[in-house]
Amino acid sequence: MKSIRMLIVEDEADLLALLKKTYREVFIAQGYTSITIETASTVEEARDLARQAQAHPYDLVSLDVNLGDADLSGLDVLASLKRFQSAWMVSLLTGVETDASIDTIMGAEEGDRLRKSLRSAAYRKFPAERLLVVEKPSRFLPQEEAQTLLHNRIEQIALVFGEVGRLRYIFRPIEVKSLERVKAAKEDKNKKGARKFIETTSLHWQIRFDCGDIRTLPHKTGFKTLHHILSMERGESLNPEAALFLEPKNEKPDQAGSGDAGEVEDPVRDYFVSKGVPWNEMSEEAQENLIRVALAHRFTRYVELRELEEEEDLSANEEEELAVIVSELGPLASIAEKQYSRMSGANDLPVEVPTDESEENAPEDSSVDIPKMAQNDLHPQGGNYTSRQGGWGEDSPTAMAFRARMSRCRDCLRENGFAAFAAHLEAYLSSTSGAWSYHPPSGVEWTIS
């Protein structure tokens, strides 16, 4: 169902009625089934409506630039619509664009200057890609001709609105190229021209929510998951395990393995067995050698990146690379980390895969049976159903990590000027029946690629 909610601001009663009728006809012809049209006839009324529409923006505003107010004009309404992000698109009706009488009265040069200054003033008040400056039919035209002209122009506005509307909700990955400094060798440090740069590509996210501006944010753990969620079909859902598989940086394989089942969980063994290696028949020394061989080709880079991470000097694309290595190493990641800790003289540190701050929220009880809990359903209010306890209980560590990750994503969006987007996720992204689902209101269609 296509729907539109629009505001027409016009102080001439006849033209207001005509605009209302024409917009309705055009949108019906273009397949809109629900059309709501509100009207205002003064600057103050329009600005009040712009303020009130902050929570529920207009899809389209048709605004007369000259509203017959002594002090304020349609441009001031435009500024309010921008300030309160309360209109997706605006068609600004002017009377100077091609009105020959302007040239007759003011002279061609002055008339041209007026047109240009009006446009530039309008584009300073509202994003140009969502603003159409449209000329009203001249009052000197015969009525029938003027109506046809108006109808055609409104048809064009409706077509542009249909096209531009696709970019109202954007969350898509983009590659940003930048120059990154390469560390010079110690002996080259003082040489002229020793500083070298290489072109690197890093993952960024282009984001727009509703009537706000498009902005680009650097990658943040959780954005890939969020991207997946926003691109899901209606009715589809995502369980925490699958979500953390999408971005596996937070997994804690070493936590697994103290279950009450007979055999102790050993993800390393499972990994090699799945590759067809007769793990149980091998001696301990042979097992260790095999692990070393498996680690060898990634381990050097892993250590480099971990060192940079500890120095807090990890760039976005290096962070991405580390996450990929951790994901590729799978259960061996914990062994790589153990080895790295030994190398850096931190033998007493707990052995963990490099994780981000979400681990603060993960449960400390290492005796939790992760495989069992992972099968449990999530409670709508935040807990999950544990078959072992036979009632509503706590989230599994995986579910908790996922919940923390989503919360951090929202915080990141909020801090970067996307408070409305964060609030939207809080309202429409929910965990029910063991999985996360997203049920946006009608009209929210994400552009994700």
Binding site: R47, D69, A70, D71, L72, D76, A79, S80, R83
Partner: protein
Amino acid sequence: MPTAIPQSWELFPPHSLVIGSGPMARALTLIFDAATLDYPSIMAGPEPGDGGVFSKKPLDELTHVFLVADLKMSASDHLSGFEEVWKWVEKLSPAGDCHQLAFIHVLPSGAPSGFESSLASGMALDFLDPVSNANGVWRSAESLSDLLLVLGKLVPKDLVFFNGRRRADKRRIALAALKMAAISGSASEMIAAATEVRKVFEDNEYDLDLFCSQPCHPTGNRLRTTLRLLVTTGVTQEVTEALRGEIPSLLR
């Protein structure tokens, strides 16, 4: 040095703000559970947070501003406070110039009778009115119930409203033209603009103080002398060039 924004404003954004010092300002702060700033603090502007960014929370909920004048203050000093409040609001409220505010000008009982009309003139208003332009006046000799009456009538307005009035104000247009002529116009354009300024201020020449930078009255005197020089005496090329730099610095 900019004024540090009280941390409490971040946690509990104030609804009312009292600008001024002295017993009347303190009493109003208590009665209306308001936040308070003295004139030097408000004139210094707010201090930005980390990274030079202003939080948009501290004045998000501000609805009423009490501007408390003392006997030493001229209308132009008081008006400077009004202008500065808007600068604070633009920086510390998400709605910026669309944030709606109502002003209560608290005047000492001995304030000159033309004080209010000067204020109105500086704001490009015909008169101060709680309903049509969000400006209420209360003299400290009046009763508290009169103040409550004014408060009840106030209809808030935003800066766009005041800017709209200013854009249409003949006096501001003439002063803007003078500034432009001083910056980039010819000597004859400067003289023409100065003549126009003198013409629009002929009713009350001292209203020029309202549009001059601090200290308003001495600066106003300097501007009046300059205008007289330009219009009546006529000036040499050298003097005109010297005035080019001076005129913009005299105006607010």
